[in-house]
Symmetry: C2
Subunit: 230 residues, 2 copies
């Protein structure tokens, strides 16, 4: 069985776990602390990014984009109307643009700083940057959430799913990131009812269940986190 090196609070890892879940592909999960830059992990992926998937023949796939494209080519292509990357090149381009938006842009603006300050720094040793959260970084990241939520609301309000009429990688990437922010209680859902309705639908999918049961040591999720009717 392939091994997926992941972290429960890495959006890119959650995204790939959701894709694997949707396609029914089992993997063995191994948690990796991304700040450790563990020598044997860097041998697998010199860039040090998560997730990394290693198959039974020790072939290595590094990072969410590479893994998602590989899964589309080897599994998605057989799924017909359940394929998570559309068939049309322009549709595929729009899905990829949105995946990048959520895993790169929103990650840099919001998700990464909040997860790092509120979760990773609790677990990191002081020599690697652990310690109390930086209130300036928290404030800046929180200031960016509203804009991103507005964009998701706009997408969810104008289409059934974020990239069009069918569930796609774009929904899974967005929900992966949002689920971390929701865990931390950082989202005021009342301000974004269209985003909430869409997230409720994605969150109710069986592929989402494992994510909703995981807990981070020392950080209790917001009360509605695992609630499918929040």
């Amino acid at each position: 069985m392939p091994v997926l090196y992941h972290h429960t609070m890495s959006s890119a890892s959650r995204f790939i776990r959701l894709v694997l879940g949707e396609y029914g592909l089992p993997v063995e999960l191994t948690e990796e602390q991304p700040w450790e830059m563990r020598k044997d992990f860097i041998k697998l992926n010199p860039a040090g990014t998560l997730p990394v998937m290693v198959d039974d023949n020790m072939r290595v796939l590094c990072g969410p984009t590479v893994i998602a494209e590989f899964l589309d080519e080897t599994s998605g292509i057989l799924k017909r109307d359940k394929r998570l990357l559309a068939e049309d090149p322009f549709q595929r381009a729009e899905i990829r643009r949105l995946v990048e938006w959520f895993l790169v842009k929103m990650e840099a603006d919001v998700t990464k700083p909040l997860v790092r300050e509120r979760i990773f720094k609790l677990q990191m040793p002081p020599t690697l940057g652990g310690g109390a959260p930086d209130s300036k970084i928290l404030r800046m990241a929180r200031g960016n959430i509203r804009q991103h939520l507005k964009y998701i609301s706009w997408l969810a309000g104008s289409r059934s799913y974020l990239a069009g009429s069918r569930l796609s990688y774009a929904d899974l990437a967005a929900a992966a990131a949002l689920s971390e922010l929701d865990y931390l209680g950082e989202i005021t859902w009342a301000e974004a009812p269209q985003a909430r309705d869409w997230y409720q639908r994605i969150k109710s999918r069986p592929s989402f269940r494992p994510l909703l049961t995981e807990r981070v040591r020392g950080v209790t999720p917001v009360s509605h986190y695992a609630d499918l009717d929040f």
Copy 2:
């Protein structure tokens, strides 16, 4: 004819121009100053990244990954042994990993800080961060070059091209970034003869010619920059 919004000193833009050149696809070039975040440009690509390609039907493709995948699906697929993204899923994964390495990791470690400090800051107004280069950033970025050059040398020494036996996106992404560093005279080629031999081969391709003739206002390239036998 499609329009490509680019900047001559953006590695991602150079990469896509090389791909278009290799596939013989003509585009109209429009230079965009990435630091301006021009309103009409942000409408095309909310993430503000370069390059952006707009086709005759005003369909927009944002960023190097999205454009490269689109070009593979619409042109590459017809090119047989001239296809720049291999056929085998694992080969494709390795090519994509390396493209990301050069356009994300090396970009963050080396190319972006050097281009920003030495070129962009000359042209940016002080209100947007323009001014004299920060010597601490220059020192850090220069310290990272050697490691990246060593990696390229190792790849070039163990394979004909960086991702295997055929020219691929990986070579074009690496050469796009290196060409900017070379313009700035930041590369000590004598230290990396295998990387130099490989770069010389890529640089000699007709697709490279337009890049070698462009000049940045106020910054003269190193004397061997356009020299095919440096």
